[in-house]
């Protein structure tokens, strides 16, 4: 198996694994944050505006972890530096 095939295979597999593993943590975290915010709103409806704003900010921050994984898997597929390196040296 030549190096081009190896790099292509490993990049695609790792891109999938990155998304799969990397989305577990943020999913649990967002669910936990949302459920706590809902019970907080149920207890104190007057503070709903503040709680919602804080919830949105926290959700975006938690979600950015999943977004990092997404960016890395996209780089592996579309902008892989090793892939371009192998292609240019092969010529």
């Amino acid at each position: 198996m030549d190096s081009v095939t190896t790099i292509g295979q490993i990049s695609i597999i790792i891109a999938g694994v990155t998304m799969a593993v990397g989305s577990i943590g943020p999913a649990l975290g967002e669910a936990w944050a949302a459920s706590r915010a809902l019970s907080a709103i149920a207890q104190q409806p007057d503070e709903a505006a503040t709680i919602t704003r804080t919830l949105f900010v926290s959700l975006a921050i938690i979600e950015s972890i999943a977004i990092y994984c997404f960016v890395i898997s996209m780089v592996l597929i579309f902008a892989n530096p090793f892939w371009t390196h192998v292609l240019t040296t092969a010529k």
Binding site: R53, T54, V57, A60, I61, Y68, M74
Partner: protein, 241 residues
């Protein structure tokens, strides 16, 4: 499989030696020109009294809402930070909103734009902090709560800038990419739903970017050391004042 451009940097209109005119630059200028033109047309004839134009009402609403948000987050006079934070919000918001226009590529979908915006925040925070608290007063923040935390505070400063850039880039890019992939699989109706979701995410991300910039500035300029719960904290007497 057709080539999918993951950033608008890869669309090049014009190239001459080291000058490259990519879609990022073009659409950044389109958004800026649009914002400046609309703002100029509206503020050209501002009126007080009962009958004001619709555009003026919209702009007053925006500015009032931004001021109240900044005041709630920083507990300070919002007019100091309104031009900076408001411009950031308007630029990101409009560049994400125009994504419904065919042929438009959001400049925030390029890591270069978002890195530049994050760098602006990175430099604005110490500038506001030093202007508010003096040079050594601001530097003392880094040695809080103990000088042992100094390296962690510096790393935190750098990593939150990286996070700010990658978060906005990743969200906008993923929205465009999901639509592109769906167009290849189910070209009818389904991409529209994702496009609508992308619009919502774009607005939320613009809000998040502005709020985080405000939180960082608020943490750097606050005189007491109560920085951790700055988002949650809002006192009613300040809100009314």
């Amino acid at each position: 499989m057709p080539q999918i451009d993951i950033t608008p940097d890869q669309i090049v209109y014009f190239k001459w030696s080291f000058v490259t005119l990519s879609a990022t630059i073009v659409f950044t200028w389109v958004v800026m020109a649009l914002l400046v033109t609309v703002a100029w047309l509206t503020t050209r004839r501002l009126r007080t009294g009962v009958s004001v134009s619709r555009q003026q009402t919209l702009f007053e609403m925006l500015v009032t809402y931004m001021r109240s948000q900044i005041r709630e987050i920083t507990d300070q006079d919002p007019d100091r930070y309104l031009p900076f934070v408001g411009s950031l919000f308007l630029f990101i918001s409009v560049s994400n909103l125009l994504e419904v226009v065919p042929g438009y590529h959001a400049p925030t979908g390029s890591i270069n734009t978002t890195a530049a915006l994050a760098l602006v925040v990175f430099f604005a925070v110490p500038i506001f902090g030093i202007a508010e608290q003096g040079f050594f007063g601001y530097l003392k923040h880094y040695a809080q709560p103990t000088p042992l935390m100094l390296p962690f505070n510096i790393i935190g400063e750098l990593s939150r800038t990286l996070a700010l850039a990658v978060r906005l880039f990743g969200n906008v890019m993923s929205g465009a990419l999901v639509v592109a992939v769906l167009l290849a699989i189910v070209p009818i109706f389904v991409p529209i739903v994702m496009e609508a979701l992308g619009l919502l995410i774009g607005q939320v991300q613009a809000y998040i970017f502005a709020v985080l910039a405000t939180v960082y500035i608020g943490a750097a300029t606050r005189r007491d050391n109560e920085v951790t719960n700055s988002v949650v904290h809002s006192s009613p007497e300040v809100k009314n004042g």
